[in-house]
């Protein structure tokens, strides 16, 4: 089976190497997608445990918890949200480009995704340094006195830290994929679909984190 593609780099399109278990590339893609969805289910439960802790402490120590929540930097958080949502857009474009056989679009959008992801991490790193200089790490000399604020900030560091780790892994994989896509790899490899799913998941986690961490306690 050959794949006909129209692209602007005039590189030959390689046949995908299908592992023995699968008869067709479509089967392999379907399997990879299924496997990634299963993995994302585990990630939902992983972060779900954190959301549970957040919910419990939000209600048992409401005043202090929300006092802590008001100390996050909503400007930087919002900038990051815009960056990450845009990166999801570029990722969608990359995946769609893969379906249509547009090699140039694919690797450029993947590169843009990686760049935006890295930008997110840079802003986050800056935000963390600001948080630390404002003594918002809940150990000695913690800035906010109310009981419950340190619980919020403990969860803040764990949640944003874990999200950051997941995003970093995503950036590394997307960068590698962008590099491969410039060359002889077929556009129909299952990696494009699976990394697309993973990236959107990391973005979705952020969509939950943003209101929980930046918008809590700020309603009039």
């Amino acid at each position: 089976m050959s794949s006909v593609s129209v692209d602007d780099t005039a590189l030959p399109v390689a046949e995908p190497a299908v592992p023995e278990a699968w008869d067709t590339i479509e089967e392999e893609q379907e399997a990879a997608s299924f496997g990634m969805w299963l993995f994302l289910a585990t990630e939902m439960l992983f972060f779900g445990g954190l959301f549970l802790c957040y919910t419990v402490y939000r209600f048992t120590h409401a005043d202090g918890f929300l006092a802590g929540a008001r100390a996050t930097d909503v400007k930087l958080g919002t900038i990051n949200t815009v960056i990450l949502l845009t990166s999801s857009l570029t990722m969608v474009m990359a995946v769609q480009g893969g379906r249509l056989g547009l090699r140039g679009l694919v690797w450029r959008c993947l590169a843009a995704t990686a760049v935006l992801g890295a930008a997110f991490l840079a802003v986050k790193g800056y935000e963390w340094s600001q948080d630390l200089s404002r003594h918002l790490f809940p150990k000695a000399h913690f800035a906010i006195a109310e009981c419950g604020a340190s619980m919020f900030w403990a969860l803040y560091w764990v949640m944003t830290g874990l999200h950051g780790i997941h995003l970093t892994i995503g950036v590394v994989i997307v960068t590698r994929l962008a590099w491969l896509m410039r060359g002889l790899t077929s556009l129909k490899i299952p990696d494009l679909i699976t990394i697309g799913l993973y990236w959107h998941f990391v973005d979705t986690i952020w969509i939950f984190l943003y209101p929980l961490l930046y918008l809590s306690g700020r309603a009039p």
Binding site: H61, D63, G64, E146, C147
Partner: protein, 315 residues
């Protein structure tokens, strides 16, 4: 306690017979089921072992369908029946009797500190009168421990930063084991003590003989004054604070509309995290005494507040 081979603990409290009856019922049910299964397995293994001339035709539908549904339903009913029995037994012992004698217990690595209402203190031991309900209000100074008296069939974890409660009514005089039964560190297995159940007159004698560090509620009154609580909660102060006479055990209306019962846990929160449950009609002005009062002192203050009777409220 004898050290021969015992196979069953003593029944030394009012709760023990209920637990043991339930145990016996479950033993009978279990024995019946085990005997049934083992008999069937052995019978089938012998009768249908390869080479015997038993009938081996296909199963009639009634066996493969109705039997299956039948024993599924039977097991369901048994499970629900046992839940109903055990749940009722549990519910009937949830609430301690109103007039129960109160003992405060503090667990710490690796000892038990108990204190009677009149101030008498014990380490790794608790003397109680026979046939009188005893309510244990417990907390921990460090990690989670668990207060376990096998012969009474009671057990409750003790947690840091919180109160947990259990109760018993000892029915037999004697000395019984007290074990810590939540792993708490190196000397967990040495954190054991004794519950000594005495006839009532002997107990009164014993209690009066204890070195009394004053009634803990008197100590609580002293703390109340020295910490300056009266300056807001009594008399005419510029700062309005709720009056505490009769408050213990009554319903408190909070600013956010919730209604709380002013029990030990509520008073503890009010002292350590006053902003958590602000009373309706008052501002959140009370400072926190976190770090200024320890668990022992909170117990005394609570005892004092409990002793304050007021008009028209539960005393």
């Amino acid at each position: 306690m004898n050290s021969g081979l015992r196979l069953f603990p003593e029944e030394a409290s009012t709760q023990a017979p209920a637990t043991d009856t339930l145990f016996l019922i479950l033993m009978i049910v279990s024995a019946a089921i085990i005997i049934l299964v083992v008999t069937l397995v052995i019978t089938f293994s012998l009768r249908y072992r390869r080479g015997t001339k038993a009938n081996r035709g296909p199963l009639r539908d009634i066996i493969s369908r109705e039997f299956e549904i039948g024993w599924t339903a039977g097991t369901c009913f048994l499970a629900l029946f046992l839940f109903w029995w055990s749940g009722s037994a549990d519910l009937s012992t949830l609430v301690p009797p109103r007039d129960a004698m109160e003992i405060h217990v503090v667990g710490k690595q690796w000892m038990w500190k108990t204190q009677h209402a009149n101030g008498a203190r014990e380490i790794n031991a608790l003397h109680v009168p026979v046939n009188e309900p005893v309510r244990l209000v417990m907390t921990s100074e460090d990690v989670i421990h668990s207060f376990y008296v096998p012969d009474f069939r009671i057990k409750r974890d003790v947690l840091p930063g919180r109160y947990t409660e259990t109760w018993f009514n000892a029915t037999k005089t004697g000395t019984y084991h007290l074990f810590c039964t939540q792993f708490c560190g190196t000397e967990h297995s040495r954190m054991i003590g004794e519950i000594v159940v005495m006839p009532k007159d002997e107990f009164s004698k014993w209690l009066h003989e204890q070195p009394q560090s004053a009634d803990i509620s008197k100590e609580g009154a002293a703390l109340y004054a020295s910490l300056g609580c009266a300056s807001c909660h009594e008399g005419k102060s510029r700062v309005q604070a709720p009056r505490l006479a009769g408050v213990y055990g009554s319903a408190v209306h909070l600013r956010d509309g919730r209604i709380f019962t002013a029990d030990d846990a509520y008073i503890r929160d009010a002292i350590l995290e006053p902003d958590k449950h602000v009373v309706a009609g008052y501002e959140p002005l009370m400072p926190s005494f976190e770090g200024l009062v320890g668990d022992d002192e909170i117990l005394r203050l609570t005892a004092y507040i409990r002793s304050l009777k007021g008009k028209g409220r539960a005393g």
